[in-house]
């Protein structure tokens, strides 16, 4: 299991290959990558992500442990960036490996659902008009109920 909270960009392809190479016998590898999206009307200059050093690593570690206890997983990877990100930049990725596809998919979705609402990150959108904190979505909180 590897968890990295970092400002540096990461390369999806390199991370995915390194992860898959470490779990050659697993059968199923799922990756999710989140990218900074522009605003519906355009005009996003940057996204600024703040986090709670110390708690962030702990919270992600707990979430990953929960996933590992719940599904039969060969490995888990979580990378999450913070700081100032340009539109189109990768924000974060998770990867899961399992003998069967169902476990790999469900664990990846579980990790994402919990990272959204239980890992201490806050996003701010910067435009020419100013800066706005991204509000948490009810749908993201509701997504936790299925687990």
């Amino acid at each position: 299991m590897r968890i990295s909270v970092q400002t540096a960009p990461f390369d999806l392809g390199e991370e995915a290959n390194a992860f898959a190479a470490g779990v050659a016998g697993a059968g199923a590898v799922v990756t999710f990558t989140g990218v900074v999206r522009d605003l519906p009307g355009g005009g996003l200059q940057a996204m600024e992500i703040e986090h709670y050093p110390g708690m962030t690593e702990k919270a992600i570690g707990d979430i990953a442990q929960q996933a590992a206890g719940r599904w039969s997983l060969a490995d888990v990877l979580v990378i999450h960036r913070y700081g100032r990100l340009a539109p189109g930049a990768p924000i974060m990725m998770v990867a899961t490996a399992a003998p069967h596809r169902k476990d790999a998919f469900e664990a990846a979705e579980y990790l994402m659902d919990y990272l959204k609402s239980r890992a201490p990150f806050w996003k701010k959108e910067l435009t020419a008009e100013g800066a706005d904190w991204v509000a948490a979505k009810d749908a993201d909180e509701d997504a936790l109920h299925r687990w």
């Binding site: 703040e50 110390g54 702990k58 959204k116 609402s117 201490p120 990150f121 806050w122 904190w133 993201d140």
Partner: protein, 81 residues
């Protein structure tokens, strides 16, 4: 006790962390003390339903006791991922 603020809570209060001497028994008691201090605290804590709290880096409820706690953090609902 170290008190930390994140995101718009930090912006409204105007600092990321401070040392607070308190006898507050619960998080809610601490919030009441802070709100009584200055307008900027009142503004940050006006709507508790919009806030979350962590005690020693674990999410907690506002009625949780503060005994033995070294670090309290206030912030809006998280938006990771």
């Amino acid at each position: 006790m170290e008190v930390l603020y994140f995101a718009w809570v930090r912006e409204r209060i105007g600092l990321p962390r401070e040392r607070v001497e308190t006898e507050a028994a619960t998080v809610a008691d601490l919030v009441a003390e802070l709100r009584a201090r200055e307008e900027r605290y009142e503004a940050a804590f006006a709507d508790l339903s919009a806030l979350r709290v962590a005690l020693d880096q674990e999410l907690a409820e506002f009625d949780a006791p503060l005994e033995g706690v070294r670090e309290v953090a206030f912030f809006p609902p998280m938006t990771g991922g």
